[in-house]
Structures are given as structure tokens and as C-alpha cells.
């Protein structure tokens, strides 16, 4: 077992162990020290993730970076199989699928036709290490570790302290497994597992009615997304005959009847090297099926990553403890959809229209959420809508279906994890000081009471707004540039596609302005103006303890430098592009990236500064202009404030009709189906009741009937 194998297993195993230890000992033994297992596990996992990252980088660098005809490259991956989850014989009979097998079988031969013995449904618990996974692991464990430290202060004294750390450890385990799963089944397993952790943590204060409802809503909306995801996975199975990402060498993949065949047969994974290196037309199924697969997977991604129209659960999820919002609902879990789409890039390339949908939904969601965020008064909800909006940017990047765009999307995921976690933890620090109050109308001018929170949040806000040279600037700028490039490149393909991407570019630019505005609106409202402290805060209105400030500072430093460092060195892109799915030949640019991004950078910076200045003008003074504006644009204001009425619309269009259908079904059950059953039950009684008068016990009656009967028989025989 090489070191990478060991690391890839250990990284999820540590949080799992922490979960079990905290669950078993938390209440009785650990008590207020319940954070220790989680802290130890996440810290160690982070260190190991860094080691893994460097190991993967070293190994991946050995792979030729530029594929040529003679030395094709499909990136670097390493897979560890732990145990067989299920192995059901003779499960797949494909008809028109090519490239099921490599090795000694000629590619393109039809395999598994009826009568020849089909493929096994064979799924291992298999983990993978590749650049994408390694980057995600490092991000996840780093943010987790910081959130665990922060929560020591934030959750201090909560009666469910041990429960909190059990759930958080379970989440870290699930999330690390999600990003290292090497087949669609395992991905789906942990896709739902992080959903459960989210459900449990949103409803952490389950005695709050809103918290319990929000948890359920999150789970159900995600289930709708998962419905699409599951259909996509089933279609992948039906189309490709495997659910593995990687190529598998199995002795026992052959049916017994083929046992004389070659000893080792590779079943090519959906995202495996063999398939990636084959000509695209042979390797991936396009057309309606390909489009359906890509779109269904994207439905799943919309659920998990809160994209329109499945974004409604994320704002409600803010009922959970704030560290959870930072960890799960900003930095890690909600990016799972982005991760999945990036991982499945070849499937999206097989159906170009799917990428247009991804870009359109991403761009639209970014704008919609930003429009909502500008009028919200709950600090955490502003950040929640901002998360939705930024996730939209990521999908916009992925939707360009170009290497630059996907890299930009993933880079934005990476930087966003730091500055959004920072902003949420900062909001948590404010909430902590304000005695649990988070509505910005109740407080203001806190910069003297909370100096460190103020400065760190300032950095986070600048990063989110996309101001040079903070993290958000670099990644957002790359997304914008990629969209513009795509618009130019698509001009050759067709005018409609080009105009779509051009529209998306201007929309995204406008959204960037909105982002800067709402971010600094919240920032100025909270920290500037007249100092107001709600009565709930009591005497607690002071700066948070060191274990909360520390993570804020670390994240602030990261937010400040991480984008600049990686954008300048191209380290992120160079490593990420060695991921098998992204080293895929059709994705490679035909010529080097354009140099003309300076205009985009300049324009987006100007837009961001405009947004910040507007926010400063409106919210640093007495805000009389704001009230005037709200009055002048009353309908627009109300539309934004009530979140475009999407929740009530869903309630009216989906929830109530289904409840009604349920009631009708129950009525039918009782008064139609069961009534029919009872009718059958009464039939013997009814027949009995008909015949009962005959058995009246009056002998003369019997005699009379007998005589009559004989008469009838007699007459009958005479006539016959």
C-alpha cells in the first residue's frame, strides 16, 4: 500500500472515528471536552490532506501535461478498493454500447447481448485520489478544522455540545467520502449522507419550530434534486453498463461461461482513462440520452448547490447554528453539486446543450439571488443568498464547457470557501455578541465593540465584492473572462449560443455590482452608523473569545492572499487540470488562453467599486435615501424583499395540491376500495337474506313447494 492509498483511507476514517467516540462518550464522559475528538480528527485530517495534496502533485507532475498523439494523457488518478458493496451477477445486457471492455477485447464489440451472459453489477467501496479530490479534501478539512475551533467558543455551554460535535464529525466524514468516492453509487450515498448531516444540524435546536421545519424542507428539496440525480445514475448504468469512475481490472467480471477468456479484463469506467483517451464519439453517448443524463445529474446538483428552482431550502437552513452555516451551507456541502458537475465534465461535453443549460441556470440564479439579497435585513440570510449567487457563478463557469471556465468555476469554489466561511463566522461573532439577534435593523455601529470581527469581515467583504487583490477578484474575474471567451468562440458555432453567453456575461457583470452593493450594505449597516445594541445582548456585547477570533484571522489571511497567490503562480489550474475528467482531450484549448483579460478585470473592478460606493453613500449616513428609494420603487422592493414569492408559489403549486391528492386518495381508500371489499363481504349475507324466507319452518309451505316443483317437472317432461 503506497502512502497515497493510506492517506486517502485515513482522511475520512479519522472523522468517522471521532463521530463514534463522541457519540459513545460525549454525554457522559467527555462533556464540555466533546470537541477534542473532532478537533484532533479534523486537524490531523487537514495535515494528511496537505501531505496528500503534495504527493498527488508530485505524482501528477510525472504525467505529461500536454497530450500529444503519441503520449496521450488522461491525468492522474489512484483508486483504493476497500470492500465489495454489492456484486450481482449477469445484471447488465447492453445492446448498442461501445467500449465496454478494453484489454484483449476489440473496442466497439457488442458485449452482453442476450444469451452471452451479461456484466455483473459490481460496486466496490472505492476511494480515489486525484488532483480534484486532493484539492477538495484540503479545502474541506481546513475549513472544518477552523469551524471546529470556532465552535468551541460559539457553542460553549450549549446542552447539546457533544451532539453538535458528533454531527459535525459525521459531516466531515461524509463530505470527505463524497469527494473521494470513485463510483456514482458511493457518490450518491454520501451525497445523501451530507444531506442528512445538514438535516440534523439545521434542526440542531429542534425545539424551535422553524428549525425543525427548515431541516425537513432542506431534506425534501434535496430529495427532489436527488430524484433527478438517481434517474441520471440509473441512465448512466443503462447506457454505460458500469457506475465506476475508474477502469476496473477484475478477474471475476466475466460470466462463468466466458471463463476461458483473458485473465484480466478491464471494464472501462464512465470517467476512466480508457474511455477518456478513446475518440469522443465512441466513448460517450450523445444525443437525447446523453443530454438526459447530463441534465438529470444537473438537477441533482441544483438541489445540493441550491440553484434555481431548488434554491429555496438554503435561506431557511440559516436556522442552524452559525458555524454550521459557515461549514456546510457556505464552504463545503453546497459546493458538492459544483464538484459533481466538474467531475462529470466529459458527460456534459457529450451533450453541448446541457452546458448551455448549466450556464443559463447558473447565471440566472446568480442574478436572482443577488436581487433578493439587496433587500434582506437578516445578516445571515443576506449571506445565504450571496452563497446561492456565488454558486451560480461557479455553475456559470462550468457551463462554458471550456477548460478555462471549469478551472475558474472550481477556483471560485476554492476561494469562496474561505471568504464565505469568514463572513459567516464573522456574522456568528456578531450574533454571539448580540445575544442571538441577527436582524440588522436591531443593531448597528458595532465597529468599536467588535474591532477584530469588523476588520476580518471587512477583508471578507472586499473578497466577496471582488476587489483587487483579494481572493474573490481573481476567481470571479476568471469566470467572467471564460464566459466572454465562450461567447466569442461560440460565435463560430451559432449566433443564438453566442448571444446566450454574451447575455450571461453582462448579467454576471451586473450581478458583480449587486454583490459589491449588498455585501457592503450589510457591512456598513452592521458596523457603521450610530451604535445600537439590542436588549437581548445584555452585557455580552463585547468581542468574541480567542478561539473564535483565531479562525476569523486565519480565514481573513487566506481570503486576502489565496487568490493572488494561486492566480499568479497558476498552481491551482496546473494541478487541477491533471484530473482525469479535466485532462480529457476535447476539453483542451486549441491555442493558449487569450491575454486580453485586463479589460474584464478593469470593468469588473470598476463595477465592484461602484457597488461599494453606492452602499457607502446609502448606508453610512442616516439612510433617509434608502427609505425614499424603497418608496419610489415599492413594487420592485416588495418583490425582492419577499424573495419573488417563490416559497408561496411552491406551496400553492406543489405542496397543497399533493396534500389535496393525499386527502382524496385516503377518501378513495375508505369509501371506494374498502367499500368494495365490504360489499364483497356482505354478498354472502345478502344472498343468505334472499334465501332465508324459504327456510321458514312451515311444513305446509314446504309441501306446497314440493308439489309445485313436481308439477313443473311433469309438465316439462310432457312438453319435451
Amino acid at each position: 500500500m503506497s502512502r497515497i492509498d493510506l492517506l486517502i483511507v485515513l482522511i475520512p476514517a479519522l472523522p468517522l472515528a471521532a463521530t463514534l467516540v463522541t457519540a459513545a462518550l460525549g454525554r457522559r464522559v467527555l462533556g464540555t471536552a466533546s470537541h477534542l475528538p473532532a478537533l484532533l480528527a479534523t486537524a490531523t485530517a487537514f495535515v494528511l490532506s496537505l501531505v496528500l495534496l503534495f504527493d498527488v502533485r508530485r505524482e501528477a507532475s510525472a504525467v505529461p501535461t500536454q497530450p500529444t498523439a503519441t503520449t496521450p494523457s488522461a491525468g492522474y488518478e489512484r483508486v483504493v478498493s476497500l470492500w465489495t458493496w454489492a456484486n450481482i451477477a449477469d445484471a447488465y445486457h447492453g445492446l448498442d454500447v461501445k467500449l465496454l471492455r478494453a484489454g484483449n477485447q476489440p473496442a466497439g464489440e457488442l458485449i452482453g447481448a442476450p444469451g452471452t451472459g451479461g456484466f455483473n453489477f459490481s460496486i466496490d467501496v472505492a476511494l480515489r485520489a486525484d488532483p480534484l479530490t486532493a484539492i477538495m479534501l484540503a479545502t474541506v478539512t481546513l475549513v472544518s478544522m477552523l469551524v471546529v475551533i470556532y465552535s468551541i467558543g460559539y457553542m460553549h455551554g450549549d446542552p447539546g455540545y457533544w451532539r453538535f460535535y458528533t454531527y459535525v464529525s459525521l459531516f466531515v466524514f461524509s463530505m470527505t467520502m463524497l469527494v473521494s468516492a470513485s463510483n456514482f453509487l458511493l457518490l450518491y450515498v454520501f451525497w445523501e449522507a451530507v444531506g442528512v448531516c445538514s438535516y440534523l444540524l439545521i434542526g440542531f435546536w429542534y425545539q424551535k419550530r422553524e428549525a425543525a421545519a427548515a431541516g425537513m424542507k432542506a431534506f425534501l428539496v434535496n430529495r427532489v434534486g436527488d430524484f433527478g440525480f438517481a434517474l441520471g445514475v440509473f441512465l448512466i448504468w443503462v447506457t454505460y453498463g458500469t457506475l465506476n469512475f475508474h477502469d476496473v481490472n477484475y478477474h471475476d467480471m466475466l460470466d462463468a461461461s466466458d471463463a476461458t477468456g483473458p485473465a484480466k479484463v478491464a471494464v472501462t469506467g464512465v470517467l476512466g482513462t480508457t474511455r477518456l483517451l478513446a475518440p469522443a464519439s465512441e466513448a460517450y453517448v450523445g444525443g437525447a440520452i446523453g443530454l438526459a443524463i447530463a441534465l438529470l445529474l444537473f438537477v441533482g446538483a441544483c438541489g445540493k448547490s441550491a440553484q434555481f428552482p431548488l434554491h429555496v431550502w438554503l435561506p431557511d437552513a440559516m436556522e442552524g447554528p452559525t458555524p454550521v452555516s459557515a461549514l456546510i451551507h457556505a464552504a463545503t456541502m453546497v459546493t458538492a453539486g459544483v464538484y459533481m458537475v466538474a467531475r462529470c465534465t466529459p458527460l456534459f461535453l457529450a451533450a453541448p446543450e446541457a452546458s448551455h443549460v448549466v450556464a443559463a441556470i447558473g447565471g440566472f440564479t446568480a442574478l436572482l439571488a443577488a436581487l433578493i439579497a439587496v433587500t434582506q435585513t437578516d445578516l445571515k440570510r443576506v449571506l445565504a443568498y450571496s452563497t446561492i449567487s456565488q454558486l451560480g457563478y461557479m455553475f456559470l463557469g462550468l457551463g462554458t464547457a471550456s477548460l478555462a471556465g471549469i478551472t475558474a468555476g472550481m477556483f471560485h469554489l476554492f476561494t469562496h470557501a474561505f471568504f464565505k466561511a469568514l463572513l459567516f463566522l464573522g456574522a456568528g461573532s456578531v450574533m454571539h455578541a448580540m445575544g442571538g439577534v441577527i436582524d440588522m435593523r436591531s443593531f448597528g455601529g458595532l465597529r468599536r465593540k467588535l474591532p477584530v470581527t469588523h476588520w476580518t469581515m471587512f477583508i471578507g467583504s472586499l473578497a466577496l465584492a471582488g476587489v483587487v487583490p483579494l481572493a474573490g477578484f481573481w476567481s470571479k474575474d476568471e469566470v467572467l473572462a471564460a464566459v466572454l471567451d465562450k461567447a466569442v468562440a461560440a460565435g463560430e458555432a451559432g449566433e443564438s449560443v453566442a448571444s446566450l453567453y454574451r447575455t450571461l456575461y453582462w448579467g454576471a457583470l451586473f450581478t458583480a455590482g449587486l454583490t459589491a452593493f449588498y455585501t457592503f450594505r450589510a457591512f456598513f449597516w452592521t458596523f457603521y452608523g450610530e451604535e445600537r445594541i439590542p436588549p437581548e445582548a445584555g452585557h455580552h456585547a463585547h468581542e468574541s473569545p480567542a478561539n473564535m477570533i483565531g479562525p476569523l484571522a486565519v480565514l481573513a489571511i487566506l481570503s486576502a492572499f489565496v487568490g493572488w497567490w494561486f492566480a499568479m503562480t497558476h498552481g491551482f489550474a496546473r494541478l487541477l487540470n491533471l484530473t482525469p475528467s479535466l485532462a480529457y482531450a476535447p476539453l483542451q484549448p486549441e491555442h493558449a488562453a487569450h491575454g486580453g483579460h485586463l479589460t474584464v478585470a478593469a470593468v469588473s473592478t470598476l463595477v465592484a467599486c461602484g457597488g461599494i460606493l453606492l452602499a457607502a453613500y446609502l448606508y453610512c449616513g442616516d439612510r433617509s435615501e434608502v427609505r425614499a428609494l424603497a418608496r419610489w420603487f415599492a413594487p420592485a422592493y416588495r418583490l425582492s424583499y419577499s424573495k419573488f414569492f417563490i416559497d408561496p408559489i411552491y406551496n400553492a403549486v406543489v405542496v397543497l395540491p399533493l396534500r389535496g391528492l393525499a386527502a382524496v386518495s385516503y377518501w378513495i381508500d375508505r369509501y371506494v376500495i374498502d367499500a368494495l371489499v365490504n360489499l364483497c363481504g356482505y354478498l354472502p349475507l345478502a344472498i343468505g337474506a334472499l334465501l332465508r324466507p324459504l327456510q321458514n319452518g312451515v311444513v305446509p309451505f314446504y309441501a306446497m313447494v314440493m308439489v309445485l316443483g313436481m308439477l313443473v317437472l311433469l309438465v316439462g317432461s310432457l312438453l319435451g
Binding site: 450481482i88 449522507a193 425543525a212 440509473f234 443503462v238 393525499a662
Partner: protein, 591 residues
């Protein structure tokens, strides 16, 4: 007595009857002794069943095919055929891939049932536990029987103890529920018996051995060689004889499952039954229906199975959605879970009648899963009922704060029930849905493929609804502000009984009742192969035969030789029927 698998198995089946007698014997020693004897009996049976299950698991892992099947022998004759032939009825029992997990599940759930009845049953405990143990014998016998008569005896025998358990120890409407349950299932099973007899008699005439054998393995083998190809002619209408027999079997099994729309006895029986009754009803008795399909319909009547599969798949899909929708409209916890059973058994039926390896493996696993998760849910609800004496959801709120252990178990069973990956429900549902997808979207084009495709998507949609009603139940009862129903004081409710006051949260006894289920729920979820693998040798032939037949009879434009002799029914041309109508009704081989 020799230590052979047959003897161990017979002992396991008969031990509960002995235990029932012992329970009667110690009646005078008081309630504590009765309970202990009952518990000891179920534990001893569990040990025997566990031994047998482990032997099967171990046998499945050997590469040697000779050692892979366990020989249970021919059994003890009841009615022996004479030298000139005659009846051959035996006490023949044995387990195979189809049955041994169900056998083990029964033994496991019995322990849970005894433990949940511990304090709940205050009236006539001796009778209660005797009936419970008799029920165990019946259930174990059904899964082990290797003889048609023996199977049917056990099949009907399970009705009687349960009838009394519901009728005597049930809730308000217990009499109505017991009678409805009894008559509904009895009506179906009488038809089933007719169907089984038809198979036996057909085999008698066709095999020509002169022995009227009732042996199930013998019949399976014989019918595989000489498929039933009779047609029943009434006037000008010819009806496929296999389909007729299939429908007769279907009547009993589908009611037992229960397949939509034959399910209306189930919610009633569940709601009214005492906790132990609900646990066993959901956990084991419903599986007798699906087991019946797997044991008789699929192997003995493959052509009829293939012909009827699309209709059954529609009923299964209908049941999945309908059960989920109706569950959504419930205000009574037990009724909600009962309707969820209709939905979940719909999945099991969907998997079985997808007639593929994936579907059958998933469907069979789903039978076990449903036993664990729904059995567990009923046990948890029973524990709530014992404390608060109401099943109405609206009366409860925020119990997680009061009873964290109970809430924990409820959450685990709920997650298992809604098919959360990593727990057992997912391990069953995923292969089922994948098998159905395989059937609908891949493979050769068949007639009605679009329908199959619609079904496959609808069935997946059921997963969303399933999460809705279960999470709604959990939210209402366990989350939110604390709201406890008003409880009449114990002393008033049970004057004169030495009832121990239950702790607010679960006692160790109650945890012991639920914990084994949780262990298996997690185990199956994490490594289902260990559970699917030992079943597959028994399932693969079914998928191969019935699946191939399905593709043949439903292919577009089938060649003449691939067509069944008579489809479901055919109206013969007038000239031909004139001759046969003279004979009126006749059984005639068409081929």
C-alpha cells in the same frame, strides 16, 4: 436424535410450540415466570435459527458447488404412497437462498416482540405468550416447508393466533379488524390452495409416475421440465391454464403482501393489533406473500409470470405512489406506518417482477429490510403508546427532548425506511430501481416498453414522497416545542396490577428489543453483498428463466414458436369452437 440440519430445523420450528405448552404450565407461577419462559423460548429458537443461517452463509462462501447446498433430506412421510402409487405427503422442511434470511428474521423479530410486550400485556399473559409462540411456529414453518400441504397448513396456521392476538389484545375496533383480517386473507388463501392443488394434479397426470407428490422441490423440478401448457376452453374462449393457476395463487399471495388495491385490511389490522402483533404482521407475515410468489409463482409458472408481470408491475407502482400519498394524509401514527408498508412492499414486488438479477436481489433484500425497519417503527410507536395511550400525531410534539433514546431509534428506523444510503433500505431500493430501469430502458425492445419506462420513473418519484411523510411524522412528534398528551395516572388505568412504572425514556429492556434491529440495519447498509450473495444462487435461475420468457412473450412481432400457446385468453375461430363446445368445459393440452 441425530444432529442433522433437518433435525435442527425441525427443532427450531417445534420449539415454540413446546414453549407455548410450558407457558401454559407455569401460568400459576405468575406473570414474571410466563414472560421469562416465553423469552427463553424465543432466544433458544433464535440460537437454532442463527446456527442454520450461519451455516447457509458459510456454505454460500465455499467454492465447491457440492458443499454450497445444505441437504435437508426427504423429510418424514405423513402419507406414504403404496407400491401402485398414491398420495405422497411428507413433513419435509428445509431452507434455501429464498428462505433462510426470512427464517432468521422471524426468529429475531420474535425476541423483539416478546420484549415489547413485557409490560404492555397485563391481561391474560399466559394465553398471549402461548399464542405468540404458536404464531412463531407457524411463521417459521411457512418459510421452511418443503411440502405443499405442510406449507399450506403453516400458511393458514399463522392466521389463527394472530386473529386472537388482534381480537383479544387489540385496541377499540379490535373485533372488526380481526374478522376483516381473517376473512380477507382466508378468502384469498383458499383460492391459493386450489391453485396449488391444480399444480399438484397437473403434475400427477403429466409425470405419469403414479405418485401424487406434494413435494415442492419435486414439483419445481418437474414443472421446469414439463411446463404447464394447458388451456381452459369455455365455449369459444380459451384461457391460458397457467395464467388461471397463477391468478389463483395470486389471490392469496397478493392479499398477504398486500398488493394495491387489496390492502385495505392491513391499516385496520395494524392500527388495532397490539404492538407485538404489528411488529410481526409488518415484519414477517407480509413477507409470506412475496415469499409465496418467489417460491411458487416464479419457478412453477414462469410463462404466466412473464405474461402477468406488466400488470403486477403497474399494481406495484400504483401501490408505491398510492401508499405514500395516503400515508401523507394520516393523523394516526400506526396507520401512517401501515400505509408506508403498502408503499414499501410495492418496491419489493416491483423488484421481484422486474424479473432480473438486480430486481430479484433487491426485492428479496427489501423484504428483509422492511421487516427490520417497519418492525422497528411499530415497536417504537408501541413504546410511545404504552406511555401516553394515544396514537394521534397531533397530540405529540418535541419528544426528542424528553426521550432522546426513543428519538434516536425512531430516527434510525425512519432513515432506514426512507431509503437513506448507508442504511439497509437503500441497499434494497437501489438494485430494485436499477433492475426496473434495466428492464425498461435497456434490453431488446418489447411491447409496452413505454409503459415500463413510465413506471420506472414513477417508482423513483415514490422515494421523494416516502421521505415527506416519514420526516413529517418525525418532525411533528419529536421536534418542536414539547407537547405531551395528557395521561391518565397509571394507578387509575391499571388498578390492582403490579405494573412497574415505565421510565420516561427507554428502559434497558426496550433498548435490547430495538438494538439488534439497528445493528442489522447498519450492517446491511454498509455491506449488502454479505446478505445478497448467499441468496443469489436461488434467485439467479428465476431471473434467467422468467426474464428470458418475459422478453420472449413481450417482444415485438414474436415468431410463431415464441408465442405462448394461448396468451392470456383467446377467442377461437367459430368453426373450431363448434367441435369443442360440445364437450363444454375441458382441460386440453394445446401444444
Amino acid at each position: 436424535m441425530q444432529f442433522s440440519p433437518f433435525n435442527v430445523l425441525s427443532l427450531a420450528i417445534l420449539l415454540p410450540i413446546v414453549g407455548a405448552g410450558m407457558v401454559w404450565a407455569v401460568t400459576d407461577a405468575g406473570k414474571a415466570a410466563i414472560r421469562l419462559v416465553a423469552l427463553a423460548t424465543t432466544l433458544a429458537t433464535l440460537v437454532l435459527a442463527g446456527y442454520l443461517v450461519l451455516r447457509h452463509v458459510a456454505a454460500a462462501q465455499t467454492a465447491d458447488p457440492a458443499a454450497a447446498t445444505i441437504d435437508y433430506g426427504q423429510g418424514t412421510p405423513w402419507i406414504e404412497p403404496g407400491p401402485a402409487g398414491g398420495l405422497d405427503v411428507r413433513f419435509a422442511v428445509g431452507l434455501d437462498g429464498l428462505s433462510f434470511w426470512l427464517f432468521g428474521l422471524t426468529a429475531l423479530l420474535m425476541v423483539t416482540s416478546v420484549l415489547v410486550s413485557w409490560t404492555a400485556i397485563q391481561e391474560r399473559p399466559a394465553t398471549f405468550y402461548s399464542l405468540l409462540l404458536l404464531l412463531e411456529s407457524g411463521m417459521l414453518g411457512v418459510f421452511a416447508a418443503r411440502d405443499v400441504i405442510l406449507f399450506y397448513v403453516f400458511f393458514e396456521f399463522t392466521l389463527i393466533p394472530l386473529f386472537f392476538l388482534i381480537g383479544v389484545w387489540g385496541s377499540e375496533e379490535r373485533r372488526y379488524a380481526a374478522i376483516k383480517f381473517f376473512l380477507f386473507t382466508l378468502a384469498g388463501s383458499l383460492l391459493t390452495f386450489l391453485g396449488l392443488l391444480a399444480i399438484v394434479i397437473w403434475n400427477y397426470y403429466e409425470s405419469g409416475s403414479g405418485v401424487l407428490t406434494f413435494s415442492i422441490p419435486e414439483l419445481t423440478r418437474s414443472l421446469a421440465e414439463r411446463p404447464m401448457d394447458a388451456a381452459l376452453r369455455i365455449g369459444r374462449v380459451a384461457i391460458n391454464g397457467q395464467v388461471l393457476v397463477f391468478l389463483a395463487l395470486f389471490a392469496g399471495f397478493a392479499i398477504k403482501v398486500p398488493l394495491f388495491p387489496l390492502h385495505t385490511w392491513l391499516p385496520l389490522a395494524h392500527v388495532q393489533a397490539p404492538t407485538a402483533g404489528s411488529v410481526l404482521l409488518a415484519g414477517v407475515l407480509l413477507k409470506i406473500g412475496t415469499y409465496g410468489f418467489l417460491r411458487f409463482s416464479l419457478p412453477m409458472l414462469p410463462e404466466a409470470t412473464a405474461l402477468c408481470a406488466p400488470w403486477i408491475l403497474w399494481l406495484a407502482t400504483g401501490g408505491i405512489l398510492y401508499g405514500a400519498l395516503v400515508a401523507l394524509a394520516q393523523g394516526d401514527m400506526k396507520r401512517l406506518i401501515a400505509y408506508s408498508s403498502v408503499s414499501h412492499l410495492g418496491y419489493a414486488m416491483l423488484g421481484i417482477f422486474a424479473l432480473s438479477n438486480l430486481g430479484l436481489a433487491g426485492g428479496s433484500l427489501q423484504m428483509i429490510n422492511h421487516g427490520l425497519s417497519t418492525g422497528g417503527l411499530f415497536a417504537v410507536v408501541g413504546m410511545l403508546y404504552e406511555r401516553y395511550h394515544t396514537r394521534e400525531i397531533a397530540q405529540y410534539g418535541g419528544l426528542a427532548a424528553r426521550m432522546p433514546w426513543l428519538a434516536f431509534f425512531m430516527l434510525v428506523f425512519t432513515f432506514s425506511s426512507i431509503g437513506l444510503p448507508g442504511l439497509n433500505g437503500f441497499a434494497g431500493e437501489f438494485p430494485i430501481l436499477l433492475g426496473m430501469f434495466q428492464r425498461a430502458w435497456s434490453g431488446p425492445p418489447i411491447a409496452g416498453q413505454t409503459q415500463l419506462q413510465v413506471m420506472s420513473v414513477l417508482a423513483v418519484a415514490g422515494v421523494v414522497l416516502g421521505a415527506w411523510y416519514m420526516l413529517w411524522l418525525v418532525k411533528c412528534v419529536f421536534f418542536g416545542p414539547v407537547k405531551e398528551p395528557h395521561v391518565a395516572t397509571h394507578s387509575a388505568a391499571h388498578e390492582g396490577h403490579d405494573e412497574p412504572v415505565l421510565p420516561r425514556d427507554l428502559s434497558w429492556r426496550e433498548i435490547a428489543a430495538l438494538a439488534p434491529l439497528v445493528v442489522f440495519i447498519v450492517w446491511i447498509g454498509v455491506a449488502p453483498q454479505g446478505f445478497i450473495g448467499p441468496m443469489s444462487p436461488a434467485l439467479e435461475p428465476l431471473a434467467a428463466t422468467d426474464g428470458a420468457l418475459f422478453e420472449r412473450v413481450w417482444q415485438l412481432e414474436p415468431p410463431a414458436d415464441a408465442r405462448p400457446a394461448v396468451a392470456l385468453f383467446e377467442i377461437l375461430p367459430a368453426t373450431e369452437s363448434a367441435a369443442s363446445s360440445l364437450a363444454g368445459e375441458e382441460l386440453a393440452g394445446v401444444r
